[in-house]
């Protein structure tokens, strides 16, 4: 097996991975950086983010406001020291992107323009029309081409982390085009491999978001944190799950039910605001969890519109006019017109909530470090606890940058702390074992389970039992089912026997990652007997700060369900309070 020696290996080349790679290259041009991704960097799912990135830049805004919006939005499950660090770094990172050429939308005087976003008290979302994530990703990718020390391994699928002497010291990855396993020896590893929402059938996430990075760390002994918190985005296209950005509402789009009523006022987000004049943190600019929950209630009441794609509410943007829609929301218009056949300039768009983002992920501290020495994580795959129980829109793109960079700086500090070289024999043995495991999987014959079949059962289980509102019985059933699917996963067979670009094998490995992550979600959700942010229990409807002002930590077990533990939330200055989205009129 070929051994590739490097200083820092980064798994994932989306926003966080690229930002980390650039930070490493800038800090020390002599560092050897291996940027490993199962896709070419510009295919990473950062490209699908639309709305924008939050950072305090305007004189009427303040760090305190961004802090309190974020912590309240997260229903006080955020670590406040980390949020503090995050909001202070945010504007610097967004400016850095500007200096790298990101085509941010502008005010007439040439300064950065900001738009309103859900749950934010002040307009603070930097945007590049409605392709903010796309432009961030491409700016980072193109900038990364400046640095010869960033050695890319495009289309390499990481299979295992190598841990010796209690430290993460590298990984094994399949070169997809040849099917060959490679052993990367690294002094530190950064995981930036994105979320896991593909465990749900109806999601805004691309096919690649299968929780591989989370599963890598989890299996290597690092716990997953707060996995039960899954964000539903309130405005997805009903047939495909394609996202229509929160910017639609930020620019003034309204949500109405089948009676034409702006129903959000009936769920504590009123009073009704004038059409086309959005008021921050009110009505349509409430947070995503509240909006998605309101949809659920409307559906129960029979107030939703029945379409051929299921029950929907309507997102009406007609009053914005063609010019503004073309200027600010061109992609939204294109997506709704092409995929649903509804032009937002002319008709209200049927939408419904769709799984969008995992608040949970690999447990990291303020330094983006996991509890496993030598292993760092950033982006959606990590849970650094700025998002708490519900992420505010436009905080995640900024998070990629702030903690991508932080992971890089922490990795450098870790390397410089004077490590003894690991036992290369022990690592080689592990790498060999990893290779054998994959070979055995490929060569196995007589499987009884189909990959697509297990995947469908997993998705159905998650959709039926782990949705916007949850019940103990249903969650217990989901735990049992996912646990069963994990067992049955041993019975799969890879029918594709070619070594070259074997996507049958990749899908099998991705399914394994998703099942591990799904189990952490269900186990965490069953044990959290309270309602907080995106985790709403019909049998425990209140927030329980006595019992659950805590992060859940799930520890992997190869055969059994995970072990569950809890960790106190870090509170510095904001005590848990009431989340108020009523425009100040309680």
């Amino acid at each position: 097996m070929e051994v590739i020696n490097t200083d820092v290996a980064i798994v994932g080349a989306g926003g966080a991975g690229l930002r980390a790679a650039i930070a490493l290259a800038e800090a020390d041009p002599k560092l050897r950086i291996a940027l490993i991704s199962k896709v070419y960097p510009m295919r990473s799912h950062t490209c699908a983010a639309e709305g924008g990135a939050a950072g305090v830049i305007k004189p009427d805004d303040s760090m305190d406001l961004h802090f309190s919006d974020t912590v309240g939005g997260g229903d006080w499950l955020c670590d406040q020291d980390v949020v503090e660090y995050f909001i202070h770094e945010a504007p610097k990172e967004l400016l850095q992107l500007e200096h790298w050429g990101c085509p941010w939308s502008r005010e007439p005087d040439g300064s950065i323009a900001v738009r309103p976003f859900g749950g934010m008290k002040i307009k603070r979302t930097w945007f590049a029309a409605d392709k903010s994530g796309f432009h961030i990703l491409h700016t980072l990718f193109q900038t990364s081409l400046k640095y010869p020390s960033i050695q890319r391994f495009d289309e390499y699928y990481t299979t295992d982390l190598l841990v010796d002497d209690g430290r993460c010291q590298g990984l094994t990855a399949i070169e997809i085009r040849s099917g060959q396993m490679k052993h990367f020896q690294a002094k530190a590893v950064i995981i930036a491999a994105g979320g896991a929402s593909r465990m749900f059938p109806f999601t805004t996430n691309g096919a690649i978001k299968t929780g591989d990075g989370m599963a890598l760390a989890y299996r290597a002994g690092a716990p997953l944190k707060d996995m039960e918190f899954v964000q539903y985005h309130p405005t997805g296209l009903p047939n495909t799950g394609i996202l229509l950005t929160e910017g639609c509402r930020g620019e003034g789009g309204i949500l109405i039910n089948k009676n034409g009523r702006r129903y959000l006022q009936d769920y504590g987000m009123g009073p009704e605001t004038p059409v086309g004049q959005p008021v921050l943190k009110t009505m349509e600019l409430g947070p995503r969890d509240r909006l998605s929950q309101a949809f659920w209630h409307e559906q129960k009441k029979g107030n939703t519109v029945s379409t051929q794609w299921g029950e929907c509410v309507l997102l009406d943007m007609r009053h914005l006019g063609e010019k503004k829609i073309n200027e600010r929301l061109p992609f939204v218009r294109d997506l709704a017109s092409s995929y649903l056949g509804v032009d937002p300039v002319k008709e209200p768009v049927p939408i419904r909530p769709v799984v969008h983002y995992m608040m949970g992920g690999i447990h990291t501290d303020i330094n983006a470090a996991t509890p496993l020495p030598g292993l760092f994580a950033a982006g959606e795959c990590a849970c650094v606890s700025i998002n708490g129980a519900n992420r505010l829109g436009s905080n995640s793109l900024t998070e990629l940058l702030v903690f991508g960079r932080k992971a890089a700086l922490s990795a450098i500090a870790y390397i410089q702390s004077g490590l003894s070289a690991g036992s290369s024999a022990a690592l080689a043995t592990q790498a060999k074992a990893s290779e054998s495991r994959i070979s055995a999987l490929c060569e196995k014959k007589g499987g009884t389970e189909s990959i697509a079949g297990l995947r469908k059962q997993m998705m159905d289980t998650m959709e039926e039992n782990v949705g916007i509102y949850r019940l103990g019985d249903e969650l217990a059933a989901a735990c049992k089912k996912i646990s069963e699917l994990r067992r049955r996963y041993a019975g799969i067979e890879i029918h594709d026997k070619s070594r070259v670009y074997n996507t049958d094998l990749l899908q099998a490995l991705e399914l394994g990652s998703m099942l591990d992550c799904a189990e952490a979600v269900t186990v965490g959700a069953l044990a959290r007997t309270e309602s907080r942010g995106a985790h709403q229990r019909l049998d425990f409807t209140e927030r329980d700060d006595q019992g659950f002002l805590k992060h859940s930590l799930t520890y992997y077990h190869p055969k059994e369900p995970p072990r569950l533990d809890y960790l106190d939330v870090v509170i510095t200055k904001s005590q848990p309070g009431v989340r108020d989205y009523s425009g100040g009129k309680k």
Partner: protein, 130 residues
């Protein structure tokens, strides 16, 4: 590296005949019609030469132009020249975009301006000719 990627050969001589890409034939038509423009230029040079050789030579040249073959050639050259010129006019907005403030001047205005100039120049020549 990969085992043995398969390279699909493209014919160096008949690539534009690809039935699934009619645009290639349109492109070739645009390029080939320039031959007529070249030929017409050549014809003008011949006319000058004949003129220099005296009235008889020039009359012979004019007679040749009035022959069926000459008329046919002129017609063909006219069609080809018009096709060639308009196909280029139509792509000028791509090559020479004009920005006014935040907006770009619509392409049909740029194309239209070309046609207008063409019409004016033709008109002037016509008047001078009469």
């Amino acid at each position: 590296m990969s085992n043995k990627p398969y390279v699909r050969e493209v014919s160096k001589t008949t690539w534009f005949l690809n039935p699934q890409q009619p645009r290639y034939k349109r492109y070739m038509a645009r390029e080939v019609t320039c031959i007529f423009i070249g030929a017409y230029t050549f014809l003008l040079i011949v006319a000058l030469k004949r003129l220099a050789e005296g009235p008889d030579a020039f009359q012979g040249f004019l007679n040749a132009l009035h022959s069926p073959l000459g008329v046919l050639f002129n017609l063909a050259a006219l069609v080809a020249a018009v096709y060639h010129s308009t196909s280029w006019f139509n792509v000028t907005p791509q090559a020479m975009p004009i920005q006014r403030g935040e907006e770009f001047v619509p392409g049909n205005i740029i194309v239209g301006a070309h046609y207008a100039v063409w019409a004016v120049v033709s008109l002037i020549i016509l008047i001078l000719g009469i």
